[in-house]
């Protein structure tokens, strides 16, 4: 098992390098002089000179890539000119907030999505199946940012159950209860779409598994139907559900961008959007590489979970 984790970690290195190449190439698409493009409205002569020196912008593309990569490996993601602080500091601070939001939403959608999918499949064409299918259809059709706005209207403005926005109360907050209270609405708004998608895929994975011969074998042994569904079938279905969870984690992380804007959540997504509007290219670059790298590591964890479940994967 340990060997497998090491193997997967090693195999992530080319992927991580690939990510940096892709981000670097996209940023190289920016028309015009790179220094002025990166600095935008902060392109004072001193800044231009400094960034040319730091990033080797006068050098050819390949050399620039390696300078940039080398800097990042030493933890230097460059400096945000709009915020006037190191990119890495800002990203780390904001990423924590995103992790709280996206992590909570991910747990919600995993639990409820799988349960809804299993029930839906076990009661195929029944009332529960129809109700879940309908709810799922609405869930995956509603834009999360619109849902968030409507939730604010309904539960923060009309009924003052939850705060309108933010992560902590401005006065007197800051503890875990305060965070949880602020987290409820954005986490739910963020989880809805992914819950629907996971429920859908869990349902079809379960239907696929329930037709398999080994389910008939379990029934022929006299295994109780509850156990057939929740142990035999779900275990086998998880083999196709787990990779979907990995992909959905990416979607939750993506959806967090909208939710952070709607709920003024101080996360990395809102930071990126502001950075794009401010044309703070280094902040965008650093943020994208950092979050993508974290996502790659998360997917390794997903693969490891998969190999624990499925002995046919060579460890």
């Amino acid at each position: 098992m340990g060997g497998y984790i090491v193997k997967r970690l090693l195999s992530a290195i080319p992927v991580l390098l690939g990510i940096t190449v892709i981000v670097f190439l996209i940023m190289a698409l920016i028309p015009g002089d790179p220094a002025t493009a990166i600095l935008g409205s902060y392109a004072t002569p001193e800044n231009v000179e400094k960034i040319n020196r730091d990033l080797g912008l006068d050098k050819p593309l390949v050399a620039r890539y390696f300078i940039w990569l080398g800097n990042m490996l030493t933890g230097d993601f460059g400096r945000s000119f709009s915020l006037n602080r190191p990119v890495i500091d800002e990203v780390l601070e904001r990423f924590g907030a995103t992790l709280v939001l996206a992590g909570t939403a991910f747990i919600i959608c995993t639990i409820f999505g799988i349960i809804a999918g299993v029930i839906s499949a076990a009661r195929q064409y029944g009332l529960a199946d129809k109700a879940i299918t309908f709810a799922v259809l609405i869930g995956i059709s509603i834009p999360s940012f619109f849902l968030g706005m409507m939730m604010i209207l309904a539960f923060a403005v009309e009924r003052r159950w939850f705060p309108v926005s933010g992560m902590y109360a401005i006065y007197g907050g800051g503890d875990l209860a305060d965070l949880a209270w602020h987290l409820v609405m954005p986490a739910i708004a963020l989880a809805v779409v992914a819950t629907g998608v996971i429920a859908r895929l869990s349902r079809s994975a379960m239907l696929e598994v329930l037709r398999q011969d080994y389910i008939r074998t379990a029934r022929a042994k006299g295994v109780h139907e509850r156990r057939v569904i929740w142990t035999h079938a779900l275990k086998a279905a998880m083999v196709s559900i787990i990779p979907v969870l990995g992909i959905q984690a990416g979607f939750v992380l993506s959806g967090a961008v909208y939710i952070e804007i709607v709920f003024q959540w101080p996360g990395v997504g809102r930071m990126l959007v502001n950075a794009i509007l401010q044309r703070d290219i280094l902040l965008v670059q650093g943020g994208v590489v950092f979050v993508a790298a974290c996502y790659v590591l998360f997917n390794i964890a997903v693969d490891v979970a998969q190999s624990l479940l499925d002995p046919r994967i060579k460890t």
């Binding site: 996209i26 940023m27 706005m149 309108v164 992380l253 950075a275 499925d310």
Partner: protein, 628 residues
């Protein structure tokens, strides 16, 4: 194509989605000629007018612009951008996927590594990076959304293409002289297009959402031009004071995406042949029972008494009479062979006993199965469950697919005992090891912790036999247990089964298509054809003197080893389709002795001398006819 539209129209939700979407699309096409106010003319005096105001049905926004006009123009824009992104992504992604999937090898490897790289990003990061580089704007948002979705299409279509490229018809096309390009366009593409259509119809709504999302963030369409996303984005600051400016575009996005999703699901269902045939429905824990007449009375004879069993498959309007008036009984310790070709109903008969016929589409429509004085057909689930595996156990055909792939064989054996008898953990493990020893699996102590995929086919089938023996059942129903095995392995498994049934004095109902196997293993045999038993008797009698012409012909068809090169006997024609059985003898159309009477009415069983035959002109007269 017409079938596709019919299927689509039958799905009411899809129809509703289609109608709503058609209206939205039609209106947005007609927008330029509709009598609307100009969408971009500001009038700050009329700002934030409520819906249903004079001259402004949906009210006005923060700059006093008519919301209805902006909504329809915005819808037009959103639809166009979303559809364009979907088409671009589908075309490029599918092309990549088809090439990678068809050529395989290094081409595939290189392309798919690249795709994996792109999919390693949470998709919005990539979109944001592209927009950051190209600058905010609707066209750039379109490019970003399309680019981000290309890997999804590529991966999806590649998977499908790999499956098709390994089909034998592609090899056949190569041998018929087709080159790569011709094979790609004429053999692969026609089979992939439905999948591309499904993928597009289920993702186009998502693309519309995504472009709207980028516009919502201020990275898509720029003022004064507005799509639905940017309308919502601009309205956000006035969410609390003037919610209608947010609700109007938000609801529109919701309606569009919902209708596309409904239609997309309908398209998927109509195009997926598995859904069409009902193959994707989940079999219920027991077969549905809908007996049309009162069942025969018990208590029945022997350990298992099947009486006038009728099992059908109801697929759409078609009824397949898989098992038709089948009566069989098994005495304690006896081995009864049921022989027939595919579609003869032998396996369905076996599965009907314990209600294991997949349902839907299977329905038991008549008859009874007596065991220990009670009728199993129509018995409650809890009764059936208690008997399954405890008194009546099964062995199935393919030992790889019938064992759970993720559970150790020892655990699967232990479970078979545990569900019926409260036994402690340590003892369960010992019992599992003993069972593996019973079926002559070497190194049982270590094999007990193996997974099925770590064993050979013969070993897996031994595990399946051990599982059937776990609770010392009275009957084992073995459904073609050696068909999937190699001949040398089959010989060992058969002799093992024969030893075990004598050791444990268990009755066996042995389903097979192989006369050689029946001859070696079974005491009595029943021959099935077209869902009915056509002949029944002791194995020796039937093999020596088959009474039914079908039995005789079938035995002549089986080539026997040692006779050298020769012309083989054949039966002309095809086995009957069980959804269209003739009124009389199902074999009559292929029978050399058939007369007019044979096809008129159902043929009754004639009994005599411990034998039974369903034929008016049997090959041999049965001794001492008994009055019916």
């Amino acid at each position: 194509m017409t079938q596709f539209i019919k299927l689509l129209a039958r799905n009411q939700l899809a129809l509703a989605g289609g109608i709503i979407l058609s209206i939205v699309v039609l209106v947005s096409i007609l927008v330029p000629i509709l009598p609307l106010q100009p969408p971009d003319v500001t009038n700050t005096a009329d700002r934030f007018m409520a819906p249903f105001s004079e001259g402004h049905w949906l009210g006005t926004d923060h700059l006093g612009r008519d919301l209805l006009s902006r909504l329809l123009w915005g819808t037009r824009l959103s639809l166009a951008v979303g559809a364009a992104a979907a088409i671009v992504a589908a075309v490029i992604g599918s092309a990549i996927g088809i090439v990678a999937g068809y050529f395989g090898g290094t081409t595939d490897n290189v392309i798919m590594r690249g795709v994996d790289m792109l999919m390693a990003f949470p998709y919005i990061l990539l979109a944001l990076a592209i927009v950051a580089a190209l600058g905010p704007g609707l066209m750039n948002a379109l490019i970003a959304v399309a680019a981000v979705n290309i890997p999804f299409f590529a991966r999806n279509i590649r998977g499908i293409t790999v499956g098709i490229a390994h089909k034998e018809f592609v090899d056949a096309a190569k041998l018929a002289g087709k080159g790569h390009l011709t094979i790609l366009t004429t053999e692969i593409l026609p089979n992939v297009v439905p999948v591309i259509v499904i993928a597009m119809s289920t993702t186009i709504g998502w693309m519309i959402l995504e472009t709207a999302g980028l516009s919502f963030l201020g990275l898509g369409s720029q003022p004064p031009q507005a799509d639905l996303g940017s309308m919502l984005g601009e309205a956000r600051s006035a969410l609390i004071t003037n919610p209608h400016t947010s609700v109007v575009p938000g609801l529109m996005i919701f309606i569009i995406v919902m209708s596309i999703n409904l239609l997309g699901d309908g398209v998927r269902d109509a195009l997926d042949p598995r859904l069409r045939s009902g193959a994707l429905s989940r079999p219920k824990p027991t077969t549905t029972v809908a007996r049309q007449s009162s069942p025969p009375h018990g208590p029945g004879e022997g350990v298992l008494d099947i009486r006038e069993l009728e099992t059908q498959f109801h697929v759409g309007k078609r009824v397949f009479k898989a098992v038709n008036q089948v009566s069989l009984n098994i005495e304690p310790g006896e081995c009864l062979g049921v022989i027939g070709e595919s579609g003869s109903g032998k396996s369905v008969t076996a599965l009907s006993v314990m209600g294991l016929v997949a349902s839907p589409p299977g329905v038991i429509t008549g008859g009874a199965v007596f065991h220990g004085g009670q009728d199993l057909v129509g018995a409650r689930y809890s009764t059936l469950r208690r008997l399954r595996g405890d008194k009546v156990a099964y062995i199935f055909q393919d030992p790889l697919s019938t064992l759970h792939p993720l559970i150790r064989v020892g655990e699967q054996l232990a479970e078979a005992i545990r569900v019926h008898h409260p036994v402690g953990k340590a003892e369960l493990r010992q019992r599992a090891i003993d069972l593996l020893n019973d079926v002559r699996i070497p190194n049982a102590e270590s094999r007990v912790d193996s997974y099925p995929h770590e064993m050979s086919g013969g070993m897996r089938q031994r595990v399946a036999i051990a599982m059937a023996l776990a609770n010392e059942p009275e009957v084992i129903i073995a459904d073609e247990p050696t068909t999937a095995l190699d001949v040398t392995v089959q010989a060992q498994v058969l002799s093992l089964l024969d030893d075990l049934r004598r050791e444990h004095n268990v009755a066996i109902m042995f389903i097979t298509h192989d006369f050689g196997v029946v001859a070696q293993l079974c005491d009595r045999v029943a021959v099935m054809y077209g869902g009915q038993i056509v002949e029944q008797g002791t194995t020796d009698d039937i093999l020596a003197n088959p009474a039914h012409p079908y039995t005789r012909k079938l035995m002549e068809c089986v080539p026997e080893l040692g006779a050298g090169r020769r012309e083989l006997a054949a039966i002309p024609g095809l086995p009957p389709a069980v959804d269209d059985l003739p009124p009389g003898c199902a074999f009559a159309p292929r029978c050399h002795k058939a007369q007019a009477e044979c096809t008129k009415a159902p043929i009754e069983m004639t009994r005599g001398g411990g034998r039974a035959v369903r034929c008016l002109y049997p090959e041999t007269k049965l001794v001492e006819e008994e009055p019916a």
